[in-house]
Amino acid sequence: MEKIAYSGNQGKEVRSDCHITVEITTSGGVEVVLKSKVRALYEENIRKQILDAAAFFGLTSAKIIVDDTGALPFVIAARLEAAIRKVVKTDKEILAPALSENTTTTARDKRRFSRLYLPGDSPRFFINAGIHNPDGIILDLEDSVSAEKKYDARFLVRNALREVNFYGCERMVRINQIPQGLEDLDYIVPHHVNLILVPKCESAEQIREVNKRIDEIRKKHGLKYDIWLMPIIESALGVVRAFEIATAAPNVASLAIGLEDYTADIAAKRTLEGKESFFARSQVVNVARAAGIQPIDSVFSDVSDMEALKNNILISKGLGFEGMGCIHPRQIPVIHDNFAPDKAELEKAIKIVNAFHEAKEKGLGVVSLGSKMIDAPVVKRALKTIQVAIDLKKLEPNWRENQQSI
C-alpha cells in the first residue's frame, strides 16, 4: 500500500469539490489541515466528518490535508474514502442512508427521450441535474473520466446514487468497457441504479458477463429491484452483431448508438447530415424494433446550436429513434419538444383513442374508425402517444371531457 494518497480536484476552476491528501504517519494521532471556502460556516462540521471517517477506517496516525471549494458532505465523504482506501487495505464502505426518492424503480418501457450525461468525477454538475427534468441522468464512469480518476469517481457516483436528489429522473450509470466495467458494478448495483449503459458493446457475451456480475452482487446483498441495460453500439462489429446484443437478456431495455466512435471505426468523417451513419442508425432501429426494445440515438455535441439540434432530432425521430443523449441541460426541452408527438400524430391518436372508448362504452369487441378496423397494438400505441403528450403538457389530462366533437 502507498503511504500517501490523493483524491478529488483542486485548482482555479474547481467549485463544489474538494481535494484530499491522506498521509500515514508514524506517530502523533490524526492531524487535519483544513483549507475551506466555507470554513466560517462548516469548519466544525467538516472536521468531525474527517475524524469520524479516519476512526471508521482505523487510522490512528495520519495527516489529512483538505482543500475544499464548497463540497457538499457526500462529496467530502467520497473523496475521503477514496483517498483512505488507497492507503488502508479494507472493504469497508461509509454509506449514508439512501434518500427515499432514490430507491424508486423504473419500468422497462419507460419514456427515455432525454438522458443527461454527467461527468462522473465532477460533482458540481450532479447537484442540479434533476431540476432540469431530463428523463434520465447518466453518471458517467467511462469517457468523461480520465484514467487516473476512475477509482475516485466510483465513490462519488456511488454516493450520488444514494444521496443526490435527482427529482424522479431515471438514475443511470455508464460503466467502463467490459471487462474493466465489471468492477464498476460493485459500486453501483447495491445503490438503486435503475439502468446501466454498457459502452462499446460488441457481443451478447458481454451482456451476459454484466448480468452474471449483477446477479452475484444481487445475491450477496439480497437485492430484488430491476436493473435495466442499455448497450451502446459504437463499432462496425457492434452494428453487425446488434441483434444478438439486443436479445442477449430480458433486462436489455434499450439499444443505443454512439456515433463518435462508430464513424472513427468505419474510417468516415462524422457530418451534420449523417449520411455516413445512415446504415448503422437504421440497423439499430430495425434491430431494436425486432427485439421489442427502444432504439436510442447518439448525443448531439454542438450545445449552442438549438436549431441544428432540432433538425437532428427530427431526422432521428423520422428514422424511428425514441430518444437521444444530451450533454447540456439546455438541450433537454428541445429534445422533449421534438420527440413528443407532433400535431398530426396527436390528432390521429386522439381519433383512435376516442374510437376505442366508444367501442368499449357500446360493448363492442372491435374498435373501428370509419370503415377501418383498428388492431389492439395500434390502440396501445395511440394510448401511449396520448400519455406522452399529457406528460409533456401538450395535452390537458382531462382532454376527453373538454373536447368539442371529433
Binding site: A40, A71, L72, N128
Partner: protein, 521 residues
C-alpha cells in the same frame, strides 16, 4: 473622537443600534413608514453672481487647484458619483492630492465604490480618509469588516443617499463631479464625450446641496453644453483633464444574458410565475436589473409581450441593449433609466425621448412627496441571503464579511411585487437561512422568493398565492426551502463577531436598520 458609543438601543427589527457613531446621533429603525421627519431641507450657503465670471468661464488649471480653491481641509466630506463604475479615474486622484497636501480625516461619500477604488485602502490606513459613507465593496468591505477603518462606515441606498443629503444628515463640503462632456460654465451631461456613461443622475444631490462643486471633464464644448443634466448654475469650478474615465470599463461586464443552465432555469421560472400571477399584462411595468438572471427574465417578458402583442408602460432600468430593443420595437413606452450599462443604452438615451434619465430624487428619495419606485409592478432583485421572515441581506456574506453596497435595492423593494430569484445554495452556502447575517430589507416588503427548488410566496401576499394555485407553479413554504437547503448543505454555524461596530446600515428614511460588527479572528 470615539468610534461609536458603547450604549446601544434596540430598533423595531430587534437589532442593536449604537447611540452614536462618528460623533453623530443615530435614530433606530422604527418600522416601514413609521419615522416621520420634521424640519426643513438642508440649504447650502447662498452665492452671488458677482463672485463668478460674467463670461461664464470657471476653468481652473487642474484638480489640485480646484480643491485648494474649494477650501479643502481636514475632516471635510468629499463626494463622487459612480456613473463611470470600474472606469473611474477621478476619485483616486482627489485623495492622492489630499494626501500630498497632508490633509487628514476626510469622509469619502461616493454613490458606490468599485474595484478600481481599492488603492484608496492606503489612505484609509494612513488617516487621509477617516471613513467611507456609501458602499464598501470587495477589498474595501473586507478592510472594514476587519475593523481597520478609523471611523464607522455608513451604508445607504441610492435613495437614502439623496435623502441624507437633502435632510442635511450628510453635509457635502466638496462635490467632485466627473463628467464626460461639459462647457466652461459647468453645464454637463453623460450622453456625449469619449467617456459617455449615459447620465449623471447620482450626482444630482451633490450638485444641488454641496458647498462647493467641481466639474471635471476631458471634453469641453463652448456654452451651451446640451442637454445640461448637471446645471452649471450649481458649479464653482471646471477642470479639464486628459481622460476622465476608461470607456471600456464604464460599460459593465454584467450585460450578458446568463449561460448558466441553473440560472436560466430560475429566470424562466420567475417569468412563468409573473405570468401565472397575472402580472404581465398590457400597460405593466418592471424593473430590469443588469445581472445575468434579471436580464434573462426581461427577455422572457419581451417574448411574452411579442407573443400576445401587448406592451409595457415603462421599464425601470439599469438599461442596456435589451430594454433598448424593446423600446425601439415598440414593446415599451418609456425606459426610466437610473444608469446605462452599455453603449446601446447611452446611444438610446441620447437619441430617444422615450429613454428618460432619472435621478434618485425622482425614483427613490423617501423624504419626498412620493417617488416612482412604489409604482413599479414587478421588481426583480438579488440577495446574498433571505430568512424565514423573508428578510433579506445584500451587503454581507454568510461568513460575516461586508462585500457589497446596497445600491437601489432597498428603494426598489417598495414595488408592488418584489421578487428575489436566487439559488437555494451557492456551492455549500445556503442562501435561505434562519436569520440573515445583516438585515437590509424587511420581509414585509419582499413578496416572492424564486429558487431552482421551488417558489415561496410571502404569507402576507395571499392574493398572489391564490392566483398561482393550480397553475403548476411549484409552490413551497419558506420553511420548506430552508429545510431543503439544510438537508443538502448541513446546518451552518453563524460567523463570530466582536462587539466593535464597523458600519451601520441605514433604512431608506435615514434610520438605522442594522449594525455590522468587526469579525472575530
Amino acid at each position: 473622537m470615539e468610534k461609536h458609543s458603547k450604549e446601544f438601543k434596540v430598533n423595531a427589527a430587534g437589532k442593536n443600534v449604537p447611540f452614536r457613531i462618528n460623533g453623530n446621533e443615530l435614530i433606530p429603525y422604527m418600522g416601514v413608514g413609521k419615522y416621520k421627519p420634521t424640519g426643513r431641507r438642508y440649504g447650502p450657503p447662498l452665492s452671488s453672481c458677482a463672485d463668478f465670471p460674467a463670461d461664464g468661464n470657471k476653468l481652473v488649471p487642474n484638480l489640485k487647484e480646484a480643491l485648494i480653491r474649494s477650501g479643502l481641509r481636514d475632516g471635510m466630506t468629499i463626494s463622487t458619483h459612480h456613473h463611470f463604475r470600474n472606469g473611474d479615474l477621478i476619485a483616486n486622484q482627489i485623495f492622492d492630492i489630499a494626501h500630498e497636501l497632508g490633509i487628514k480625516d476626510l469622509v469619502w461619500f461616493p454613490s458606490a465604490s468599485f474595484p478600481c477604488h481599492d488603492p484608496l485602502i492606503k489612505y484609509l490606513e494612513d488617516g487621509t480618509i477617516n471613513r467611507i459613507e456609501g458602499s464598501m465593496n470587495g477589498p474595501l468591505g473586507k478592510f472594514t469588516s476587519e475593523g481597520k477603518m478609523k471611523g464607522v462606515g455608513v451604508l445607504r441606498s441610492h435613495g437614502g443617499r439623496y435623502q441624507a443629503v437633502q435632510d442635511g444628515e450628510v453635509i457635502i463640503d466638496i462635490a467632485v463631479i466627473a463628467a464626460p462632456i461639459s462647457d466652461t460654465f459647468g453645464n454637463s451631461n453623460g450622453v456625449n464625450g469619449a467617456a459617455a456613461c449615459g447620465l449623471l443622475g447620482f450626482a444630482l444631490a451633490d450638485s444641488q446641496y454641496a458647498h462647493k462643486v467641481v466639474v471635471v471633464t476631458d471634453t469641453l464644448v463652448p456654452f451651451p453644453c446640451i442637454p445640461w443634466q448637471i446645471q452649471g448654475n450649481y458649479v464653482d469650478y471646471v477642470v479639464k483633464v486628459d481622460q476622465v474615465g476608461l470607456s471600456e470599463k464604464i460599460v459593465s461586464g454584467t450585460t450578458n444574458v446568463t449561460k448558466s443552465p441553473d440560472r436560466l432555469y430560475i429566470a424562466e421560472l420567475t417569468a412563468q410565475f409573473c405570468d401565472a400571477a397575472g402580472l404581465v399584462q398590457d400597460g405593466f411595468s418592471f424593473q430590469a436589473g443588469a445581472g445575468g438572471t434579471a436580464l434573462s427574465i426581461g427577455i422572457y417578458f419581451d417574448q411574452i409581450m411579442r407573443d400576445r402583442n401587448i406592451k409595457a408602460r415603462f421599464i425601470r432600468a439599469g438599461s442596456n441593449k435589451y430594454p433598448v430593443k424593446m423600446l425601439e420595437d415598440g414593446y415599451v413606452d418609456y425606459i426610466l433609466d437610473g444608469q446605462t450599462f452599455d453603449l446601446e443604452g447611452v446611444r438610446s438615451m441620447r437619441e430617444n425621448p422615450g429613454h428618460v434619465n432619472t435621478s434618485p430624487f425622482t425614483s427613490y428619495n423617501y423624504h419626498g412627496k412620493g417617488n416612482f419606485a412604489s409604482m413599479v409592478d414587478i421588481a426583480i432583485l438579488g440577495a446574498t441571503e433571505v430568512d424565514i421572515q423573508f428578510n433579506a441581506n445584500v451587503v454581507t456574506h454568510s461568513d460575516g464579511y461586508l462585500l457589497h453596497g446596497i445600491g437601489g435595492w432597498q428603494n426598489c423593494i417598495a414595488s408592488k411585487c418584489t421578487i428575489l430569484p436566487i439559488p437555494l445554495f451557492r456551492d455549500r452556502i445556503p442562501v435561505v437561512r434562519e436569520n440573515v447575517t445583516t438585515l437590509c430589507g424587511p420581509g414585509e416588503l419582499i413578496d416572492v422568493i424564486v429558487t431552482e427548488r421551488g417558489i415561496a410566496i410571502n404569507p402576507l401576499r395571499q392574493d398572489l398565492i391564490e392566483k398561482v394555485k393550480g397553475t403548476g407553479i411549484p409552490l413551497k413554504t419558506i420553511e420548506q426551502l430552508l429545510d431543503e437547503a439544510q438537508r443538502i448543505c448541513g446546518k451552518p454555524t453563524d460567523p463570530k463577531f466582536t462587539d466593535e461596530v464597523v458600519a451601520v446600515v441605514k433604512w431608506v428614511d435615514g434610520t438605522v436598520i442594522d449594525t455590522i460588527y468587526k469579525l472575530d479572528k
